[in-house]
Amino acid sequence: MPVDSEIFKGPAGFIIPIVILVFIWELVVDIGLISSSLLPAPSTLLIRATQLSYPEPILIHHILESLYRFAVGYILAVIAGIGIGVLMGMSRIWYKMLNPFVSLFISLPTIAWVPLLLVIVGLGDATIIIAIFLGAFFPMVYNTTTGIQGVPQQLIWASRSMGAGRGATFLHVVIPGSMVSILTGMKLGVGNAWRALVGAEMLAATMWGLGFMIYAARAFYDIRAMFIGLVLIGLLSYLVDMALIQTIENKTIRKWGMVRE
């Protein structure tokens, strides 16, 4: 069957496979192929989600707490990551000085920082936000640096020969010229930041957050709440990617033809 048929175009292409999977999942549990105490059916997840939303809006509180931590940690990481990346991309000396650290830390799982942060900073928001920051920061630095280094020399020469100074060339040529890479860093950063968030919330949160919710549900054998947590984390990460990264992509590098469709 040709996968690129009309039915898979647009948002439907994303939703249809999920609907099919959910349907099979429901069926498999309902006819008793798998025990519902190990794999709760989607319908019972909905019921549990309602219980967690009414009368007390517990679920939304968890979501908002996680989103808040994500926003603070991620935005700081993007700003700092672009800043350091620009420094390393523009200056050989800074590149030589900082690159060893980026190479060392970029493949370090962010969750490995958390025990250390717990000792230094303690339980709570600060540790979680720092973990999110660290998760997004290194891919941001790396991709900004390579993006800037990859701007074709001829574009810079063209700009300089048209009377643009170094500052103007940086602003009008180097930055847009490295947008493809900067956006890759932002996209990888979103994924890394969510992973860091969930892990750090399990270890460092005291009351709220989706990671905390999943971990706390374990103590009560509330498998349905754990599944709800998993689905929401995936969904939120996807929505952030859609709302933020893809929106910026469509307004910049796609419009400019800098990536192939």
Binding site: Q154, W157, S159, R160, S161, G163, P176, M179, W256
Partner: protein, 263 residues
Amino acid sequence: MSNFRQEQIVAESLSKIYGNGTTRVVALNDLNLYVGEKEFVAIVGPSGCGKSTFLHLVAGFETQTEGSILLNGNPIPGPGPDRGYVFQHSTLFPWRTVKKNILFGLEMQGCDRNLAEKISQKYIKMVGLEGFEDAYPHTLSGGMKQRAEIARVLAYDPQVLLLDEPFGALDAQTRKVMQMELERIWEQDKKTVILVTHSVIEAVYLADHVYVMTARPGTIKEDIRIDLPRPRNYMDPGFLEYRRRILEQLEEEVTKSMMIARG
């Protein structure tokens, strides 16, 4: 005769060496070249002979290892809008529309907005890109991109045009049209032009002087003055005679450069 004309670009004993030790490459060696004001000069030579390197030095993108190069009597201070550069492959900014690309030089030099607008319109019209003002470069054909590139350089009115195989990437038909276009533009508002090209026909068609360069390390082998009235005719016996002479010179060097490549 050359004592009476105004020299705009004077290159003397110019050398450019890249790398050192085993990576050392002598791109230009003891090159001497003079370009008069409003003169159209073409440089032909085998691949890798340093033609583009010379143009980079004039543009101020790179600096020479030895010798001197003067523009209006002064050493070249770095890239500047008094020299416009057209590259072989498009350097239009993908994030700017055709019009905004053409406005770039004017904007950077602080030109008045309304005036810049008028000038950009004039050059968009001149290169036949009306209707494509708001198009992004990736939607244009190779020929259209190159025309936009030329308009972008002409718009801020540099004294000197440095053309680095500007039509090399175009198909034969578009190339011919662009050559005629360039001739027309040059006749209209005379500028000093240095054209680097692989095409001997292009050189003879457009240039007052054709410099033939040697194989690497590049230096000037011969300076041939093209004494034909304009616009020139590809079929004219005089034209063909110049072409034959230059090709002969060139062939020797191409053979040599292939020997160098083979080692």
